[in-house]
């Protein structure tokens, strides 16, 4: 027999209980696919919504169960050390699911737009005969639900992956569904498809960097496990040039997902083109996942070499905050404005991450959740401002909205104030947490740039507010759709959490604090 084959294979032990949340999500996604295959059209929508929500709620319940049964305190590695079940992992998985549930509510909304925001076959030319036929026979896309379940499952896998290969697989598992979901918009189909293709091409490009980084690190450490890389960084006799190249490549792949400058270029186009509920999902959940990966890599694999790479990532953080803020100033489209705001916010999280101590982890975790809820509610509101062509996203169309729809404008103002970091909103407490952590970690420069950039960003946010309240509405001003129960719920959750975490941040900050210990 071939000597290679004769080598012993140690079967990995898999702790199914510890990875149950991921299994539930992916398993229910498969159920969703089967439902798509075998159920009659009329039943698909309710069943898919149910499957989707049940999967996420069950996953969340399992995560809470795991956290309460001390997995957070006594973290474990399982599946041959490929997965880590620890405090940050569970927190991030929970965050992905909580935000995912709210995003699913937005995705499932069908009363604002007849048949929902997603078209069954995006390739059909809008307004053509085939389109009319499609609208009659097959009003909506329901594959979006299993796709989002796959994406969320991939994100959960991603944040608990403990070696580079698993991380890469997880990256692809959550990226590929997102590429598809971007292309499904009912309105402005070409823009949506263009966004999807851009996202796909650039995502593939960045994945290539990531894989290249894995190769470099394997060359350096002889292993893809984070722990081994960390050990090799201290004790390996090899030149660590390989390690730094590898680190750079990995970081590029991850910072691409997190939308950090200069790897942010896709963000505005994709956020604008994608159907708004999907944009909401990307802005909240993907950000959580990407920073989960960044946190784990930086804090587990490269903690000891932080003195060498921290300045470089620090420069990226500064660029991200400043350029995101500057570019937000001249935006004329609300979705692009929120996209640049999301870029700048990536910089703020990165500032927290670079504290490189325990409260850096907890503050970043906290920030991700606060930002996620606020941005979900903001995009949810964007879906409601409509004219005959669908959502009216050009800012000039929002003029005078305060008079036409005082409640909507009021909530949006509140969210904008939160983005601007005004006290009594979660935007303030989140920024306060990451900045104070960064100060504690000696990153004064970053904090200075962070504060300056928040000042800059306040301008575009408040400009929207001014626009809504102080300008006359146009004659053909868009109408504000009455939100259905699902959107209302999503908006209410987003706004209430924004307020709650603004006045009572300790409720979540304590959880984040107790979770902020990676297993290494």
């Amino acid at each position: 027999m071939n000597p290679v084959l004769a080598a012993d294979i140690t079967l990995p032990h898999i702790n199914y209980g510890a990875i149950a949340p991921i299994l539930i999500l992916l398993g229910m996604a498969c159920v969703g696919v089967l439902a798509e295959a075998f159920l009659p059209r009329t039943l698909r929508y309710p069943v898919q919504v149910l499957v989707s929500l049940v999967a996420q709620v069950a996953g969340l319940a399992t995560i809470i169960g795991l956290a309460l049964s001390n997995y957070a305190k006594k973290p474990t590695l399982t599946a041959g050390d490929a997965l880590a079940v620890d405090g940050p992992g569970l927190f991030l998985q929970g965050a992905v699911l909580v935000l995912g549930i709210v995003a699913t509510l937005l995705i499932a909304e069908r009363s604002v737009e007849r048949g929902g925001a997603f078209v069954a076959q995006a390739a059909v030319t809008a307004g053509s005969e085939a389109d009319a036929e499609q609208a009659r026979r097959q009003p909506s896309q329901t594959e979006i639900f299993p796709l989002s379940l796959f994406a969320l499952g991939g994100m959960m896998l991603f944040v608990s992956a403990n070696d580079l290969l698993t991380m890469f697989v997880a990256l692809e598992v959550f990226s590929l569904p997102l590429y598809l979901m971007c292309a499904l918009a009912r309105r402005r189909r070409l823009l949506s498809q263009e966004a999807a293709v851009k996202y796909f091409l650039l995502g593939a490009f960045s994945s290539a960097f990531f894989v290249y980084g894995i190769a470099m690190l394997y060359g350096f450490a002889g292993s893809v496990k984070f722990h081994d890389i960390a050990v090799a960084a201290i004790s390996s006799g090899k030149s660590d040039l390989l390690m730094f190249i590898g680190l750079a490549m990995l970081a590029i792949g991850l910072l691409f997902k997190a939308a950090a400058v200069p790897f942010h270029v896709w963000t505005p186009d994709v956020y604008q083109g994608a159907p708004t509920p999907v944009t909401a999902l990307m802005a909240s959940c993907t950000k959580v996942a990407a920073f989960g990966g960044i946190l784990r890599i930086f804090y587990v694999a490269f903690l000891d070499s932080r003195w060498d790479w921290r300045p470089v990532i620090g420069v990226i953080a500064v660029l991200t905050m400043v350029i995101g803020a500057i570019l937000a100033v001249t935006q004329t489209d609300i979705k692009r404005l929120l996209a640049y705001s999301s870029i700048a916010n990536a910089g703020y999280v990165l500032t927290g991450v670079l504290a490189m101590q325990k409260d850096g982890i907890s503050s970043s975790l906290f920030y991700l959740v606060t930002y996620g809820f606020t941005v979900l509610a903001a995009f949810g509101l964007v879906t409601l401002v409509r004219d005959q062509d669908g959502e009216a996203t050009h800012l000039s169309r929002w003029a005078g909205l305060g008079r036409k729809a005082p409640v909507l404008a009021g909530v949006f103002t509140f969210l904008m104030l939160s983005f601007a970091g005004i006290p009594l909103t979660s935007g303030f407490t989140g920024k306060f947490a990451v900045f104070s952590a960064a100060l504690g970690g000696g990153q004064t420069t970053l904090v200075i740039f962070g504060v300056l950039s928040s000042v800059l960003l306040a301008f575009p946010y408040l400009r929207v507010v001014v626009l809504m309240y102080l300008q006359e509405p146009a004659a053909d001003a868009p109408t504000v759709a009455v939100p259905g129960a699902l959107t209302s719920a999503a908006l209410a959750i987003g706004a209430i959490v924004t307020l709650l975490l603004g006045v009572w941040p300790s409720v979540l900050l304590d959880v984040a604090n107790s979770a902020a210990q990676f297993v290494g």
Binding site: V197, K198, L201, L202, F205, S206, F209, D240, L241, F244, I245, L247, A248, M249, A251, I252, F256, V261, P262, F263, V265, W266, P268, D269, D308, W309, P311, V312, V315, I316, I323, I326, L327, A328, V329, T330, L456, F459
Partner: protein
């Protein structure tokens, strides 16, 4: 009171523990009247009068309770108002002979004027609101005199300022009234600011504004601080009481309805400055320079008021300048210190009666003459308005100090006390007070004669002037009785002894041996003034304004250039300062801000061009970024 003595107030017990009701009743009534709106239109005036009447009855009860007490001063802590760290302010009330006196004046005269206003404001659609403001004023004024700390007094002080502003500009559709309201408000702010700074000084040096704490601690302060405090309080008092240099608003305040002029701008609010100085007597006692300045302000203002009063043709303005002048007497008295404090308060009370009566009389005349206020357009009215004639006549005799009316008992001792100061000051201030008495006699005679005697000089639209209704006549009669009797009653009723716990002494400085001579001299001066006016005006006067032949007349007609003074000294530098600030703000600060914004906006639109929408250029950006990151990390490593 010597400085070694500690000021300590007993806690209120029994009946006096409800002394806060005095403030609460008019306040509640004001709230009802202002919040209920038109629903209260039919019975609003009755509630307004009833509330102030109830306060008066309570005030009487408290007054007699206090008389029966040994310690003569009670304080009542109601609740904690502000507490930040060591900074603590309580809502508290101090009820002592001084407060009790003021309470009776405010509620008593206030009640009469409220009743008068029922008739006077009958035709005004906003009468209910008027009574709301009037009650608001009364409660604020009561808070002012009942507070147990400077801060409480200040809150009342601001409250009466607000009520005064609202009532001066009552006829909002008249630009003159609106302007007068604003003028009063602004000029009062100057005084209020000084009052505030005085309180800051107290906080900084003594840690509290409680009367007890401040008065006990003031002796230990350096003289500079005490003087500053005294002068700042004086400035505050000048603002509220229309004393030089902040006198210009008071005559303009006559744009308000006449009951307002009578109650707020003659009898009560404008005397708040006198109250403040009398109340702060330990502070003023501690600085003789400060006292001298108070006396000087009083003496100067009383002459100024007299001189301008001689030159005015508007009946209410003459009375307003008369008020300015009479308050000057009060300032003079409280500035003299010692027993003269009580004289000042005595004159204040007497003045409250006769000046309120005079104003109500003027209001009655206006009521009968279709709101005419020009003295040149009256004449011969005594036949048509006998009651008004009689009440105004008694007030007139009282103000010029004819014995045995009340002015005689209150003003002559002040003149006497001024002379008694001794040295050049005694001569200067004494002669000023004496001259003032003569001038007062002159312009008041002019007013009286031109209004009620001589030929009719009415405008053509008046056929038959009528006497006012009973609801207006009754208060006038009662006030006239007060004008006649108040002075004598107070003096022989032991008023100065009553105030002794507050001021510490009753000894009135004066030359006992020369007393009779002094009375003779001042009576002679008064009679000369009356005689000149009678000779000049018994035949009436020209219907149009005469050209001013001498500079003094010109100056007097121009209010002794008070407004010009304000314009050049305050307004012009203020305008220049504003312009400079606007310039600096516009070019400097805004320049920086807009410049920064332009930089951000410019770089934003430049950076936007990088966002081409082409995947190839995006990929290039990512690749470039990747190369830089890799290179940087390698540089960090290798370098």
């Amino acid at each position: 009171m010597t400085l070694a003595e500690q000021v300590q107030y007993q806690s209120a017990t029994g009946a006096l523990s409800s002394v806060w009701l005095l403030i609460a009743i008019p306040l509640a009534s004001a709230a009802v009247l202002l919040l209920l709106g038109r629903k209260a239109d039919r019975w609003g005036h009755i509630l307004g009068c009833a509330s102030i009447g109830a306060s008066f009855v309570l005030g009487l009860w408290y007054f007699f309770t206090l008389r029966g007490l040994g310690h003569k001063a009670v304080s009542l802590d109601l609740f904690n108002f502000i507490q930040v760290g060591r900074f603590k302010v309580d809502w508290g009330i101090l009820y002592d002979p001084l407060s009790a006196t003021f309470v009776l004046l405010i509620t008593g005269v206030g009640f009469l004027i409220h009743v008068y206003a029922v008739g006077y404001m009958k035709e005004d659609p906003g009468r209910r609101r008027f009574f709301g403001y009037f009650n608001l004023f009364a409660s604020a004024m009561l808070l002012l005199v009942l507070g147990n700390s400077f801060l409480m007094t200040f809150i009342g002080w601001e409250g009466v300022g607000l009520a005064s502003y609202l009532l001066i500009s009552w006829y909002q559709d008249r630009p003159a009234a609106a302007t007068a309201g604003k003028k009063a408000f602004l000029m009062n702010r100057v005084g209020d600011a000084a009052f505030l700074v005085a309180m800051f000084l107290m906080f900084a040096n003594l840690g509290s504004t409680d009367f007890a704490t401040v008065f006990n601690g003031v002796g230990a302060l350096p003289h500079g601080v005490t003087l500053a405090m005294a002068l700042l309080l004086l400035a505050g008092a000048c603002g509220k009481s229309g004393q030089f240099p902040l006198q210009a608003w008071l005559p303009d305040a006559m744009e308000g309805p006449t009951p307002v002029s009578a109650l707020i701008h003659a009898a009560t609010m404008v005397t708040a400055g006198v109250y403040l100085i009398a109340r702060s007597n330990p502070i003023f006692d501690a600085t003789s320079l400060g006292q001298t300045i108070v006396v000087a302000v009083g003496a100067f203002t009383l002459l100024l008021g007299c001189v301008i009063g001689c030159a005015k043709d508007d009946i209410k303005r003459v009375l307003a300048y008369s008020t300015v002048s009479q308050i000057g007497y009060m300032f003079l008295a409280v500035g003299l210190g010692g027993g003269a404090y009580a004289l000042g308060i005595l004159h204040l009370l007497a003045h409250g009666f006769f000046k309120a009566g005079l104003f109500l009389g003027a209001g009655s005349v206006m009521h009968g003459m279709k709101d005419q206020t020009d003295l040149r357009r009256f004449g011969g009215l005594w036949r048509y308005m006998p009651v008004t004639w009689a009440t105004v006549g008694l007030g007139y005799l009282a103000i010029i100090g004819i014995p045995p009316l009340s002015g005689f008992f209150s003003k002559d001792p002040i003149i006497d006390a001024a002379f008694a100061r001794g040295g050049w000051q005694g001569w200067v201030f004494g002669l000023a007070a004496l001259l003032g008495a003569g001038l007062t006699a002159f312009y008041m005679t002019r007013l009286f004669v031109l209004t009620f005697h001589g030929k009719k000089r009415w405008t053509d639209d008046i056929e038959h002037p009528h006497e006012s209704p009973g609801v207006m006549k009754l208060p006038m009669i009662l006030l006239a009785v007060g004008s006649v009797a108040a002075g004598g009653l107070l003096v022989y009723g032991g008023f100065t002894t009553w105030l002794e716990p507050v001021f510490g002494t009753t000894e009135v400085p004066g030359h006992e041996p020369n007393r009779a001579m002094m009375i003779g001299i001042s009576l002679a001066v008064v009679l000369v003034g009356v005689a000149i006016a009678w000779l000049l005006f018994r035949r009436g006067t020209a219907l149009v304004e005469q050209p001013a032949r001498s500079p003094i007349v010109r100056a007097a007609r121009e209010n002794l250039y008070g407004d010009v003074f304000n314009e050049t000294v305050f307004e012009l530098p203020g305008k220049l300062l504003t312009r400079a600030a606007v310039f600096f703000d516009g070019k400097g600060i805004d320049g920086i801000v807009t410049g920064l914004a332009a930089i951000v906006g410019g770089s934003s639109s430049r950076l936007r061009r990088l966002q081409t929408g082409f995947v190839r250029s995006y990929a290039l950006t990512i690749l470039g970024g990747a190369l830089v990151v890799v290179a940087a990390l390698m540089a960090v490593k290798l370098g």
